[in-house]
Symmetry: C2
Subunit: 134 residues, 2 copies
Amino acid sequence: MSETKTYSIRDLSLEYDITPRTLRFYEDKGLLSPLRRGTQRIYDRRDKGRLALILRGKRLGFSLAEIRNWLDLYDVRDGQVAQARMLLDASEDRMTALLLQREELNETIEELKLQMQQVEGWLDDQGLAAEAAD
Amino acid sequence: MSETKTYSIRDLSLEYDITPRTLRFYEDKGLLSPLRRGTQRIYDRRDKGRLALILRGKRLGFSLAEIRNWLDLYDVRDGQVAQARMLLDASEDRMTALLLQREELNETIEELKLQMQQVEGWLDDQGLAAEAAD
DNA sequence: ACGGTGCTTGACGTTGACGTCAACGTAACT
DNA sequence: AGTTACGTTGACGTCAACGTCAAGCACCGT
């Protein structure tokens, strides 16, 4: 009954527009660990989810090493309180970094918005001047 | 009268915690172009501002090549309408990228927040269970 | 005149994140 | 049996973003 959907290396590479080499590379770096059917890799839903996290992490500018670390934050699988505490601490650290990045991103956006308004204003002035010259 | 503050390469490297090598590298890549007093580099307020933009861009995950391009967006110095239009178009492209990144960043933050709440909830449950066992 | 400090320009080394072969296995089609 | 498609594991290449020397110039205090 439980239809467990799986993916080949090509399936994922096409869907996420990356090369198979990249997927093997991520595996080599310990970011993914798909099952094997003989020698071939077989990715499941969880692998796919992790891949999505990896790619988003990259787009946000994090290194594979960083990503590798916080990927575990999404795998709550053990039942030890100490582990959970450490997990929570690590999560807080990461949250701090993310919030700081959002701050900087917001600043950047605001500054660019200002620049654009200035250029727009200047363009309008030129337009009015041209109109007046008619 | 106009006290124009300047900085040596060491001044900036200390202030921003980067090596002189990095500053020379950025110059080599066309991101900075400080004046020279003889052979020595002499950075002014504008150079310092650009450097701050560069470093923030890096923290947001952009490449030096990307940063180099949009650095010019902050240098409105010519008086051509066509140039201004192009500038505005480029700015809009960059704004789109920034907004998209903010979206992804927000998603990431929300997901992590959820994960943390789950772990916290689990820790609380453990606490209650331990209490009940007393 | 001498040593120290800080700067300069090459030139080569390094690390991360893959790309690009080469050489081979395997399953499917015809 | 041959070819086509898709997969595999090395091994080496590449590009960005610097680090790390080496060798040398310029001023400064003693």
